[in-house]
């Protein structure tokens, strides 16, 4: 029982990070119909910036929350600027091009970011300074650490805040209008380009926070980490129904829990035929089954004109 509970905690924490990053994919897709494949790399850049800042500051005997806040702030601001720049340079000029063109530039941007990160930070795995509290609490026989609690709380606060932003504010209404039709939104006095830029900026900020959390949690960061992270978050967005904010949140959490339970129990379920190395296979298998039954994802809406 305590093992099951521990697996659920592991899965929820991992899933909350997937969800944060999935939000960026889903927001951009919702508005532009574009899959921003460079999004995972933004999480990677965020992680590396935060790590570097924190490592640089940790020599000065400053209070830990201040150092963490500085690292996070640096990561968020760099990623926001980068997200804005990527949209301006790689996607906006192709706004009216065939849909495959921005997809290709997205992959291009992703490769460029990876290589730039490799040049700046090198190929080594970087270790996250161990300044975060290592405390833990017992919960129904399982362990939950302070870091895990902080990650869950941050992720949920951010998800609710974003949901409120999109559903209840002027900017959110503009975003929803732009996602339905940028041209028509323009006629209603909405500056579509500005809304799209803001979407990228918000998504990039969330990616930075997600990247920071992953690297602090696992204690390492690496120029290549964005690829798998992005792939998982993208899958989470698809699982929940890409374009749907709440879908991305649900998809992320579900994917995390499925992965965790899959790795923990796949051996028992298949009587040792499949081992825990099939945890990703298990997660993607669930994804495929969901997509066969509900092609537009769990919370997705059937649309006629968009594939």
């Amino acid at each position: 029982m305590s093992t099951l509970f521990q697996q659920l905690i592991n899965g929820l924490v991992l899933g909350s990070v997937y969800a944060l990053i999935a939000l960026g994919y889903t927001m951009v897709y919702g508005i532009l119909g574009l899959i921003n494949f460079a999004h995972g790399e933004l999480a990677m850049i965020g992680a590396l910036i935060a790590l570097t800042t924190i490592a640089a500051l940790s020599g000065f005997a400053l209070p830990v929350p201040l150092v963490v806040a500085a690292g996070l702030l640096a990561a968020i601001s760099v990623c926001m600027v980068l997200g804005y720049a990527i949209e301006r340079i790689a996607y906006r000029p192709l706004r009216n091009a065939p849909r495959l063109a921005p997809l290709i530039t997205a992959i291009g941007v992703s490769i460029v970011l990876q290589n730039v990160a490799m040049l700046i930070w090198g190929r080594q795995y970087l270790s996250f300074p161990s300044i975060l509290p290592q405390g833990w609490h017992a919960l129904f026989g399982a362990r939950i650490t302070d870091i895990q609690i902080a990650m869950l709380a941050t992720a949920f606060v951010l998800m609710f805040a974003l949901d409120a932003l999109v559903r209840r504010t002027q900017l959110g209404r503009a975003m929803r209008a732009t996602s339905q039709s940028p041209q028509l939104a323009g006629l209603m006095g909405i500056h579509a380009d500005r809304v799209i830029s803001l979407t990228f900026i918000i998504g990039s900020g969330l990616a930075a926070i997600g990247g920071f959390m992953v690297s602090a949690y696992y204690g390492l960061a690496h120029y290549y980490m964005g690829f798998l992270l992005g792939l998982k978050a993208f899958s989470a967005a698809v699982l929940g129904g890409i374009g749907q904010l709440r879908g991305a949140m649900l998809g992320g959490l579900l994917l995390g829990v499925i992965e965790s339970l899959g790795a923990g129990y796949i051996g028992i379920l298949t009587h040792g035929f499949l081992g825990s190395n099939y945890q990703d296979v298990f997660a993607f298998f669930v994804l495929i089954v969901v997509l066969i039954v509900r092609p537009s994802g769990l919370l997705g809406v059937q649309t006629i004109d968009r594939a």
């Binding site: 093992t3 521990q6 697996q7 592991n10 899965g11 991992l14 490799m118 090198g122 190929r123 080594q124 795995y125 270790s127 161990s130 833990w136 362990r143 650490t145 992953v214 696992y218 204690g219 390492l220 690496h222 290549y224 980490m225 798998l228 992965e259 965790s260 339970l261 899959g262 790795a263 923990g264 129990y265 051996g267 081992g275 825990s276 190395n277 099939y278 945890q279 990703d280």
Partner: protein
């Protein structure tokens, strides 16, 4: 011939083209010495790039030293050139890169780093009749494919896995053992050999879990393992996984002794595992750099150019010298001629005395067991 023609055209053509043409022709030292091309293959990108670069640096250091000293075979002066290729630790890329090196006309190869990449590439080199010495592939299968071109200057997993298993059962008295491997030829081979010998020594394998060589999250499998309360957790894999694995064991309160092979017996592991590295036991085939016959001198020369030795650089360095040693004895850089003399190698290298058995494995493979104490790897025992 073609190159000369290009150069002439270059001189007569516009200044820019002329410069390019000259640039292409003025290879260093190509004046009188012929060029011998050697290949070095290891992952230069991806998670193991730091280990891959280390191998390349080790080989490059040897090549530069040999060039500095001058290499003369059958009265002709030769210049060694190292072609460093990236196999991304990927078996498919490994064969492509191997073929590329063969096409480029290399006469010997130092590599690859990973057993999973070394094994498929071995066939390519065998078909081309080019000797291959891996500085770090430890999977048993590599030298047991029946290829007379495959050698290694590193103890294999049978030697390492059984040394570790004996240490776990005899010295640490571990009775309940959990085993994790990363499903690569290296990790799996080492873990299987460890499991076999540990079971023969009377220990019980209470959990057998698997991960990949790209994973960072082991909480799920460690949670399963924790339920079986093992006294020792054995990991067959590399340091990018072992570091977070050690941290996550501590996070979950899994108190068993963590143990592993050479893939995690690195400075990078201590760096990545942080406080959780303390007390971890891992082995490395061969003897420690400090106990190698010429280890200190090698370390000084290496550090002056490349910084810290990650792991296998001295072996890559020795591999180059072993190839050149055979060339000298054959008085030829023709792979067909010097390959015949490689099995008769008896070379005193930086890493120790290098002689091969019938398979191309080291005749005397030593394994050294280390433990992290106060943040550094310290030798526990060297097992012959």
């Amino acid at each position: 011939m073609t190159i000369n023609k290009w150069c002439q055209q270059g001189l007569y053509a516009s200044a820019l083209i002329g410069l390019l043409g000259l640039g292409a022709c003025s290879q260093p030292d190509s004046g009188s010495a012929s060029v011998i091309k050697l290949g070095s293959v290891s992952p230069l990108t991806g998670p193991q790039a730091h280990l891959g670069k280390d191998n390349e640096n080790g080989a490059q250091l040897a090549v530069d030293e040999i060039n500095m000293a001058g290499l003369t075979l059958a009265g002709r002066r030769y210049h060694l050139q190292l072609l460093a290729e990236d196999d991304q630790a990927d078996p498919k890329t490994a064969t492509t890169v191997a073929q590329q090196l063969v096409d480029d006309g290399v006469v010997g190869v130092i590599g690859h780093l990973n057993s999973g990449a070394t094994i498929p590439a071995a066939k390519v080199y065998f078909d081309a009749g080019i000797p291959q010495i891996s500085p770090s592939a430890t999977a048993i299968a590599y030298t047991h494919l029946g290829f007379n071109t495959a050698f290694r200057v590193m103890s294999n997993d049978a030697q390492q896995g059984s040394a570790l298993a004996h240490y776990a059962t005899d010295v640490l008295h571990a009775q309940r053992i959990a085993i994790i491997d990363d499903r690569t030829a290296y990790g799996q081979g080492l873990a299987d050999e460890f499991a076999r010998v540990a079971a023969a020594d009377g220990a019980k394998v209470v959990a057998r879990e698997y991960t990949t060589d790209k994973a960072t999250d082991f909480l799920s499998i460690l949670t399963s393992i924790k339920a079986t309360s093992p006294q020792l957790v054995f990991f067959g894999g590399m340091d990018p996984q072992a570091g977070p694995l050690a941290r996550q064991m501590r996070q979950l309160g899994l108190t068993g002794q963590l143990m592993g092979g050479d893939g995690m017996q690195t400075g990078q592991f201590i760096h990545l595992a942080g406080d959780a590295a303390e007390g971890v036991i891992a082995s490395t085939p061969g003897v420690p750099l400090s106990a190698m016959p010429q280890g200190q001198a090698f370390k000084t020369r290496f550090m002056a150019r490349y910084g810290d030795v990650q792991n296998y650089a001295p072996y890559a360095y020795d591999a180059v010298y072993v190839l050149v040693d055979a060339m000298k004895r054959a008085n030829s850089a023709d792979p067909q001629r010097y390959l015949a003399l490689l099995p008769k190698t008896d070379y005193a290298g930086v890493t120790g005395r290098i002689r091969f058995d019938a398979h191309g494995d080291l005749a005397q493979g030593a394994v050294t067991v280390y433990q992290v104490k106060s943040g550094v790897w310290q030798v526990l025992k060297t097992i012959q």
